[in-house]
Symmetry: C2
């Protein structure tokens, strides 16, 4: 049983271009060439192709398939396990994205009136812009680009409901901070509760919380006049107090 490219193509359902490509990358070479240079495939190649197509169906890359097919010492199980893990990640990511697209559709469709929607988008964008313009560099330098990017991505992905909740938490936090400030003690239960709310607030936009990052943020608050102005507007001297409270919280 010998086949030319077209014959094998029809037999297997792939295109002749694909077979030439597989030859080119060394995945499946013909048994021999005819006197005029035609590719001639034998039964062995048909069997190999079936195996190749089997793994291709599983979305294994041709490079990995080459490993599986040609090297008998290739660790198939491990390769497949890694493969399934990659597929799982893709799968989970897709789920998240689908949810976000649906949220976007819902809000654009008028679950919230367009005016609010635009304002909401605009506000989110403005927050991110300001965030980046003022602190982007520091955050990036201290915690790497990934964190800053993830933070933005997370912010962008917030639903309007989450966003409202986030603002409520911030309000709660500011009230608790005020009460705590009146005690004068950054280690007081009130102060520590306030820091807890601060952490909760951060978690809306932080891809993952860490005490070190939290403490670093506290320092940034004090050394940056924009934050100082913001917190001191609510509670005079509140920024330094908050930093101290965060440090105590983080040291626990």
């Amino acid at each position: 049983m010998e086949y030319t490219v077209q014959q094998l193509a029809k037999l297997s359902g792939v295109s002749s271009r694909t077979l030439r490509y597989y030859d080119e990358i060394g995945l499946l070479k013909p048994a021999r060439l005819s006197s005029s240079g035609y590719r001639i495939y034998g039964q062995k190649e048909v069997d190999l192709l079936q195996q190749i197509l089997f793994y291709r169906e599983l979305e294994v890359s041709l490079e990995d398939i080459t490993g599986i097919i040609h090297h008998l010492d290739f660790d198939l199980i491990t390769a497949l396990q890694q493969h399934v893990q990659k597929l799982q990640e893709k799968h989970d990511r897709l789920e998240q994205i689908i949810s976000n697209v649906q949220k976007t559709i819902a809000s654009k469709e008028g679950g919230t009136p367009m005016a609010d929607q635009e304002k909401f988008e605009g506000f989110k964008k403005k927050m991110i812009d300001e965030n980046e313009q003022k602190y982007g560099r520091e955050v990036r330098e201290q915690y790497g680009n990934q964190v800053a990017d993830d933070s933005n991505a997370k912010m962008m992905g917030l639903s309007e409901a989450d966003f409202k909740r986030m603002n409520e938490v911030e309000k709660e936090f500011l009230e608790e901070l005020k009460k705590a400030y009146e005690t004068g003690d950054p280690a007081s239960p009130e102060a520590q509760k306030a820091v807890g709310l601060h952490k909760e607030w951060l978690s809306f936009t932080w891809p993952q919380y860490s005490k070190e990052a939290h403490a670093g943020l506290g320092d940034m608050y004090v050394s940056d006049e924009r934050f100082t102005a913001y917190y001191d507007r609510h509670i005079a001297g509140g920024t330094v107090f908050l930093r101290d409270a965060i440090h105590i919280y983080a040291a626990k």
Copy 2:
């Protein structure tokens, strides 16, 4: 507020190459060029970029983003709905693939002994090979490549359990066909029950059943000596009887 590429890149977390690329494809052009040809971006471009990145997070293609961003008459909702549908399909396909990879791992790991496994794989392969070698062309000509390919894909995706069940159904079918043949009437309840089993058997490998395809297959059975030999080996004259029964079944 004006930015050069690098500045905007740092601000937004994308690479300068990406910004140049977005310029190149007309997705995001700088506000102006400096006297020395540097790209200069303004606040408007920063805002646009945020929107672009928002949709990019949702895995919308840059082409579609271009439509969304630049054409106000672009139907955003419809585009997003189509997008979410594509994502859903990808999602479902991934689920299927993951399941198949896991099945492969399980069987390779020795859920079934390697000998059986190999035999199983070998048998499936052989069936597909024979199928294709003998009938591939006809099926492809009559019902298009998609059907034949899907059939193979489905066959490849059969679990060993499905495969066993498929063989049981075939055995049942042959027994019923024998009983039916003894009545001598292709329209008899026995004959029609046999055809029903034949349909069930086909459904293991057919991507989707249709009466026309079923009838066509019946004709193929008669005109092809390999099928004739196969069915007549079980029941002498059975092939023609089966064809007639199928035609009656399909005409209902």
